[in-house]
């Protein structure tokens, strides 16, 4: 059993074999790669120009020319979903990077230092958790006006305590371990131990949390854009498309169908990826199966 527990550390080859044997990981991986490919493709090619307004082609249904139909300005919905994915992914990734970049060092520092630093971090977490991303976005918008940047900042700030909490919990469980004591007896300082021993051992937890926050970021961005606090027109975004679809739902329900599906599929893919990663990386859960 011990041999399997550590397969993840045996090297990339074994990890990949194990990961792709996991159905959840495989499905999530395929979906995520497809969405990412779609976003990248949109930089060089979309079926139609998403800024070209063609009033003659307004709110067409599904057809070979417009597989997902057209919106109230006659824009091709497939093209808009492709371009919109760019936005969703960018906002969510940057927000995760902000969260990890600030949260992980904070969490590790608090765990290594203990005492008042740790207490201060916990209280800071309490404080930020009291401002859900939407409330932060509302405040930021009230000051600077709406825009995609607000969404990034609002979601990113909320991610900070999430990662800080995960990193701190992981690091705290490692510090009393004997191999850390041995490293201290070898004269290594707290920073070096954090870099050499703590971070590599909590990396898998952080990776899993990263995919979860990525998925939540996509949902949050869509929500903010839907209420007009996120990405602004004419830049297409999934949330905004749903807002536009709402008033026209009686006549053209397909307008609401495809952007929503895009969100669901993307988030589902990321969550499956995260679940799969957790199964593969966390020996404790794997043993239960």
């Amino acid at each position: 059993m011990t041999a399997q527990d550590h397969t993840a550390q045996d090297g990339t080859g074994a990890f990949i074999r194990l990961a792709f044997a996991n159905r959840s990981f495989l499905a999530g991986f395929v979906i995520t790669v497809l969405i990412a490919a779609m976003a990248l493709l949109s930089f060089v090619w979309t079926p139609y120009d998403v800024t070209a307004i063609e009033m003659g082609q307004r709110m067409r249904g599904l057809s070979w020319v417009h597989p997902f139909g057209t919106d109230h300005f006659g824009r091709d919905i497939l093209s808009m979903i492709m371009v919109g994915s760019r936005n969703s992914i960018a906002v969510a990734i940057v927000a995760v990077v902000i969260g990890m970049g600030l949260g992980v060092p904070l969490g590790c520092w608090a765990a290594a230092r203990g005492g008042w630093v740790d207490e201060a971090l916990m209280r800071f977490n309490d404080l930020v958790f009291a401002f859900p991303a939407l409330l932060s976005a509302i405040m930021i918008t009230a000051i600077f006006g709406p825009g995609a940047l607000n969404a990034i900042i609002a979601i990113g700030i909320f991610n900070v305590p999430v990662f800080a909490r995960v990193a701190r919990a992981g690091a705290l469980s490692l510090w009393p371990r004997e191999f850390i004591l041995a490293a201290r007896a070898a004269g290594k300082g707290k920073t070096l131990i954090t870099l050499e021993h703590i971070l590599p051992n909590i990396a898998s937890m952080l990776l899993v949390q990263g995919t979860i926050q990525f998925a939540l970021g996509i949902l949050a961005e869509a929500g903010l854009s839907y209420v007009g606090l996120g990405t602004q027109p004419p830049m297409p975004s999934w949330g905004r498309m749903l807002f536009d679809a709402q008033t026209r739902m009686m006549v053209a329900p397909h307008l609401a169908l495809f952007p929503g599906m895009a969100i669901v599929v993307t988030v589902l893919g990321l969550n499956l990826l995260g679940d799969g990663l957790r199964d593969v990386l966390d020996p404790k859960l794997r043993r239960e199966r």
Binding site: L134, L135, V265
Partner: protein, 314 residues
Amino acid sequence: MIAYILKRLSIGIATLIVASIVVFSVLEIVPGDPAQLMLGMNATEDALAALREQMGLNQPLVMRYLDWAGGLLRGDFGQSFTYSSPVIDLIAERAAVSLPLAVIALVMSTAIAIPVGLFAASRRGKAGDAVAMGAAQFGVAVPNFWFALILIYVFAVWLRLVPAGGFPGWEAGLWAGVKALLLPAIALALPQAAILARVTRSALLEVLGEDYIRTARAKGMPRRSVLWRHALRNAMIPVLTILGLQFAFLLAGTIIIENVFYLPGLGRLVFQAITQRDLIVVEGVVMLLVASVIIVNVIVDLCYALVDPRLRTR
């Protein structure tokens, strides 16, 4: 026990104070002169000066904060200039929609999630578990406002069972009010329930692997009784944590969902206030929502002590 309660309470109060400073200073750095904003571009210098004096804008920042915070404590949230009425009245009126909505959604989500989690955990690895968790996996991925649109399309546009939106007011009768909140509550509750069900299941499975479960089984208790009598209460600790966090998400969700269903709640109020740059209203609503999140988290902390005797002696 008392020490624990006092500690959590004082942390809650301290968080509230810092949060109020954050809200106050964020809106303080808003570009533009509030007096100018209120009186419009044509106002004379004298009128502006008089208004600034009246609003206390000439006082030092700390004094203004203390004034504002003191007002909050007395229930004085200031005066909205677009509605020309006290902010507290606006909030009270709108909270009559938002609060029931959030509470119904929270109750609904918990009532669905915990039984589903228990069911899945007790049938771990079997078909029932797979179906329930497949549905939950899907539910987690659905944005609540899109789910709301689908509900409107199916139940309001297609089946015509409920109104597509709007709120008749509580004067129209309890049932009419609840009926208008039903779809929004479902839209809010189901995605949250999916998350909670997953957490409940995994917390239960984790607990079921503990040594004391084996001790209970060695007493001769059947699997099912052990799940109810020993596992559930221990599994409630992580579930409570998530429940506390979910309240914040539910409140945020309420703001969005109110816009989908055209409900005259706090969410609509705050968006209108933003477009009209009625910042004192924004400030009030944000402060209220933040405060309720903090209060709920203090309550969750106190519930921990009820569930876990180890906290009581600390």
